[in-house]
Amino acid sequence: MRRAPGWLKAYCGGIYTFLYLPMGVMMAFSFNSAHRNVAWAGFTFRWYVKLFHDAQWAQALGTSLELAVSAAVISAALGLLASYAMARHSDFRGKRAYASLLNVPMMMPEVILGVGLLTFFVRAHLRLSFWTLVVSHVVFCLPYATGTIRARLMSLKQSSFEEAAMDLGATEWQAFKRVTFPLAWPAIFSGAVLAFTVSFEDFVTTFFVAGIGTVTMPIKIYSMMKFGITPEVNALATLLLLLTAAGLLAHYLLAGER
């Protein structure tokens, strides 16, 4: 194996320090027994305990989980339908436009998405609520779920499993149920997990379309920051980070399967 020159190692070290040190510091200070993020005063779980006893925080966490799960399930279901259409029919009018338009929300600046959605809801006289939030999250989660699921369905199509099933007497629905779905399941789940992660950590769009009563974790953290960065914020952000990381890890493990 070739050894990297010293300068390259230093460069990479610098980049990674810059990327991960702030997160490390934040996580470390979430265990700091002092009230301010200045000096280390000893190890404690106090802030986590306090967090879980605080009804507001618990509610924010609950809202976020509920929102992310809903967005993930809906995105995966819609993503499966869209991917199935694209994999099943090699060509239909406007297929390219269909495929690209699905991906647009992923690339669009979130501020624009947020303003757009808000304008839409107001114009449509839809009261901002938990469900408008779910709909909005589905908009930007869908491309992530679809991407994962579609890749898998395409590769399944390459192997003609569905055709083999139909050749042996399965109707379209039976072929889907007995062959395509079981084989695509890991990708569907992994797409849902990715959508969950994206939804769970979203701030910008949520900020625009969340009604008065709906407070998610990122929103709660933001509002807490007005009073300075307390150790509780550190603890909460650490939880958010770990959950997101776990989600991403699960996604890659599942996507890597087969």
Binding site: F161, A164, G169, A170, L183
Partner: protein
Amino acid sequence: MPEPLLRLESISKSFGSTPILKGISLEVQAGEFLTLLGPSGCGKTTTLRVIGGFEHPDDGRVFLAGAEVTDLPPYRRDVHTVFQNYALFPHLNVAENVAFGLVLRGMPKGAADVRVREALALVKLSGFESRRISQISGGQQQRVALARALVGRPSLLLLDEPLGALDLKLRKAMQLELKAIQRKLGLAFIYVTHDQEEALTMSDRIAVFNHGVIEQLGAPKDIYEHPRSSFVADFIGAANILDAKLTRLTDTEAVLLLENEVELRVPRPKTLDAAEGETVRVALRPERIEVLFSQASASASGLTHLPALLREAVYLGSATQIFLEPFKTGKTLVATTMDPVEKQLNGNASGQRVWLEIRPSDIRILERSAA
């Protein structure tokens, strides 16, 4: 004439604006082994997919046992396919794969198990029931795919290059086994390959495909002995293809001027669409050319001798390939001989003077020459 098991009636199919099948018509009788043979991209797989119901023809009709099935989906046709990449279900084990079609039909588990065991025994995979697909070799996967297609007892099996992924030795063994299974069950096979040797050894009849049309359809011997075009002559076995002018044509005989040089009298073929004075292509098989190293004393009746320069001799193990120049145009002919010829070649072979012995009746008149 009984109703054929399968009848294709001038099937046409285009993808985009490219015509892929241009009026394919053929019939398969019960128990027959028909091979679709042709170069890559000529439409063999597409033809199978039309029969299986995976592609809808733009034009033409498909009949199975006399009933039109052109518009029926794959699951309503009594044919099964062995896919080129096998398409075995990776989430099911060997027995579950084979049982797939039976379960769909609602066959009781006990009866299905018996049938699965029979099918696996037929392909010599007894004891592999609970193996996962990823745990068996390519050759074994091929057998599972075959068992899965056979277990439902279709009257017609479609096989798309089923041995394409196997090594040569396994391939040869499987050719014999497939043929034996086909005979034993009395099934009709439509077998796709681009291996001409495989086609010649296994088939009852061969359909030679080229660019979406069937160039020739017939028994292996018929196709090999009487190719109707230079494409067929060249694709099935090796052939020397020459230009010849039809100088005279009688009811029984055609007089040819080979490469504007050598006059030959050959029997008139049954079908010939060229007239006197036209130039045609003719084929001569390399194994039908005898190479003589000294001028034959008295030429035996009916044989023609041509002087030629020997250009090269290539040792092939069981045979030797000899490249010859009998014409002033410098056109090269290939001859293959099973005789040991090293002695006569005496080292540096090139430039040696030899004689070709050919039997005019071995010359096959093909299509009109384009030039």
